[in-house]
Amino acid sequence: MKKIIAGAFALALTSTAAFAQAYPTKPITMIVPFAAGGPTDIIARIVAEPMSRTLGQQVVIENVAGAGGTTGITRASAAAADGYTIMMGHMGTHGAAPALYPNLKYDPAKDFAPIGLAAGTPIIIVARKTHPANDLKEFIAWAKKEGDKANHAHAGVGSVSHSTGILLNSIMGTKPTFIPYTGTGPALNDMLSGQVDYMTDQIVNVVSQINAGTIKAFAIATPARSPALPNLPTTKEAGLDSYEVSAWNAMFAPKGTPPEIVAKLNDALVKGLDDAGARKRFDELGAVVPDAAGRTPAALQKLVESEVARWTPVLKEAMAAAKK
């Protein structure tokens, strides 16, 4: 009996190894926890194309939207750890979520096998066209002077613009009145007509309005300027160096996915990030591709841990204040 069990065990082991070698033998599903058409979805689709070529199997995008992305990530984290279900998480689902969703069913740092960082989109501080400030310094002075008379728009609790906006105010030491919207579109619409004063959002959502001069931009929260907006100073240049934040996107597999498979997926992801066609599209979006050191599973694990630690206190405090 023991022999049979041992034999079965050995067989299981060898078949896993063989399985990992042959992987992938069927299409891979990548769960994107947002509706099709948003920044994370676009980045996932751009990188899925060259990945499919490298892996020799189609990487199929499945959009499972809801609750700031946590619905899709919850479902993906419970999928079989065989490498055929992976997911695209981001700053919200794997950084801000534990502070925003007290009943979260996963732990961003413990329940996943990180694959690697994909492209991220920088955050920009924008304001209505008629805003009196002309640069970031004037804007900070204005926000301090106005206090709760300032109207700060965001795209909904749990969105990137919400978390990054709360962080901005916490660093500036300002307490504006928040105007919640259900997406960047409606918020921008009211900014175009001058009803709200300022907000923070991803470059891809605001770049065309900035270029058209329909809204003002004060600074981009990245270490280097963006080729898409070469005249826009970084927050460091403009005098707010502690505000450096990006809506990073990263690929994860469910916990327990064999390391050989994770390595194959990481290899395909890295090749995808360097693919000329994908790179051109990232540039058009203003998205930033991580450097070689930032692309390993270990680097991603470290990033997730530091992001959870960074967002939790700031957001918990802000959420408690909002409920009062």
């Binding site: 509706a35 099709a36 959009n63 925003l100 579109g185 065309s208 309005q209 959420m319």
Partner: protein, 499 residues
């Protein structure tokens, strides 16, 4: 004569063999998929997005736009034939459209809605080309306060949707408003009435609610007395509208096009109100309002034109501002972005061939839809001849696939089953679902806009009357409400005098 040279450029782009072919394929796929209950334009475009990657951006967007109109049109087909509104805008079509089908006039209803939609589409195309840019500025007058007042006006329309008791209709509107409050609180992120079910944290989806309460509930009640259903399939009647039908529909189509087109421009999804407003208007000015809800052709022609005009003019905020007014347009933003064109105010000057090519393709798409759909009417109507014992399982299966495909979520299918039971109880008690769906659709927007307006005014309700556009809308709502209630007040007075 900028507009003529611009349109010439646009037609030059749209009338290439490749783009005409893509437009045709888009319309065809859209129609076929849209007919499947539950699979609306959002699901279809999301599924087919990867196919367009290999195309040039203009061709890809022309094809996606074709899918959008096609699916919109296909949705009306299911509303008429099987009483299942795939989208908020086709709820109204079920009221008289399905009644017409029951009377053996399904072909007429489908024909009128195809022709009305084509007319509305043509007018809307010219409208966008000529006035798109100035109208954008007009739409900017609409802030949260104005949207709220517009939604209040919309709620007043709901009393007109009632076929029976106005009191019952009002109760259903309030039930709809209540259902709309389920989900995450806009401001605090607190979950409201979600019963700990994660799928409810973003609120109840429209499709499971509409499909459960309309389609599934009706199937249950049909199964109770199958004889009634078989009478329907005996009568097929003529396939195309007669001259008399077309004459009767002309003015409703014109009015519907105007109302729908105007509401469609609003960047905050005003298009939802179009068909409701058109139906309310037709019923109000009809010589015999009691015909409505029993298969009045005006109740199909007007709202269907409003629907299509609004679907078209909804492109205005996307193309001129880069702001998507609804979920489909948000997907179009994604499609444009993937193709390297980031939507915004500069698309018109930077990519004129794309901008005008898309506008020209709208007209082309509408023409193709008529060509595709008129011959299909015969096939759809024949479907009604299928024995009900074969028909209802097929409807159920397609609905379930459709609902699942929206969010890839099994829970949505369970929700539909729950709403089906609720809908069946409502039918038994004589409550109508249409006013509830209107309350539900408007409720979400209304709460959001009310709260935004009140936060912006720091809690002062006078903002709704201080802002002129908002005050005007509220005044119209008040007048309409008085007109709606007057007859019943008069009646009561008469009764009082008799005593």
């Amino acid at each position: 004569m900028d507009i003529i040279s611009n349109l010439a450029l646009g037609f030059g782009v749209a009338f290439t063999v490749q783009n005409m072919f893509l437009c045709f394929i888009g319309c065809m796929i859209g129609t076929l998929v849209g007919v499947l209950p539950g699979v609306g334009p959002v699901a279809t475009i999301a599924m087919l997005l990867p196919i367009t990657f290999g195309l040039d951006p203009t061709g890809a967007l022309i094809m996606l736009a074709g899918i959008y109109y096609g699916a919109q049109y296909g949705g009306s087909t299911t509303a008429i034939l099987v009483n299942i509104p795939g989208e908020a805008t086709s709820v109204v079509t079920t009221l008289d459209g399905h009644q017409m089908a029951k009377q053996g006039r399904a072909g007429v209803a489908l024909g009128v809605s195809a022709l009305g939609s084509f007319f509305a589409g043509c007018v809307a195309t010219i409208f966008i080309a000529a006035l798109g840019v100035p109208l954008t500025r007009l739409a900017q007058l609409f802030g949260p306060a104005e949207y709220f007042s517009l939604m209040v006006m919309g709620l007043v329309f709901s009393t007109v949707l009632a076929r029976g008791s106005i009191l019952k209709a009002l109760l259903m509107v309030f039930l709809g408003l209540l259902l709309a409050t389920v989900g995450t609180d806009l401001e605090t992120g607190q979950e409201r009435v979600t019963l700990g079910i994660q799928q409810l944290s973003d609120g109840i989806d429209f499709a499971p609610l509409a499909m459960g309460i309309f389609g599934f509930a009706e199937i249950i009640s049909n199964l109770e007395n199958p004889e009634a259903r078989d009478v329907v399939r005996g009568k097929i009647g003529k396939l195309l509208p007669s001259w008399a039908d077309i004459k009767q529909s002309t003015l409703p189509v014109l009015r519907g096009t105007f109302i729908g087109g105007l509401l469609g421009i609003l960047p905050g999804n005003g298009a939802v109100l179009g068909p409701f407003a058109s139906y309310a208007l037709e019923k109000k000015i009809a010589k015999d309002p009691s015909r409505f809800g029993k298969g009045a052709i005006e109740g199909v022609a007007g709202p269907e034109s409003a629907n299509n005009a609004g679907a078209q003019t909804a492109f205005i905020p996307l193309l001129t501002l880069g702001i998507p007014p609804n979920a489909v347009m948000a997907l179009m933003v994604g499609a444009m972005t993937i193709h390297g064109i980031i939507p915004g105010p500069q698309v018109m000057t930077k990519n004129p061939d794309l901008f005008w090519g898309m506008i020209a393709s709208m007209w082309l798409g509408n023409a193709m839809l008529v060509i595709i759909n008129l011959p299909l009417i015969g096939i759809w109507v024949k479907l009604l001849k299928v024995p009900y014992r074969l028909m209802f399982p097929a409807i159920l299966i397609f609905c379930c696939i459709g609902i699942y495909s929206i969010n890839n979520s099994v829970e949505d299918v369970y929700f539909t089953a729950f709403f089906a039971l609720l809908g069946y109880v409502m039918i038994k008690l004589g409550f109508e679902p249409a006013p509830m769906l209107l309350g539900f659709v408007l409720g979400k927007l209304m709460e959001e806009k009310l709260r935004q307006a009140l936060i912006l005014s720091r809690g002062s309700f006078s903002t709704f009357v201080e802002r002129p556009v908002s005050a005007g809308l509220l005044a119209v709502a008040a007048i309409m409400l008085i007109i709606a209630l007057l007859p019943s007040i008069n009646k009561k007075r008469d009764i009082a005098f008799q005593e």
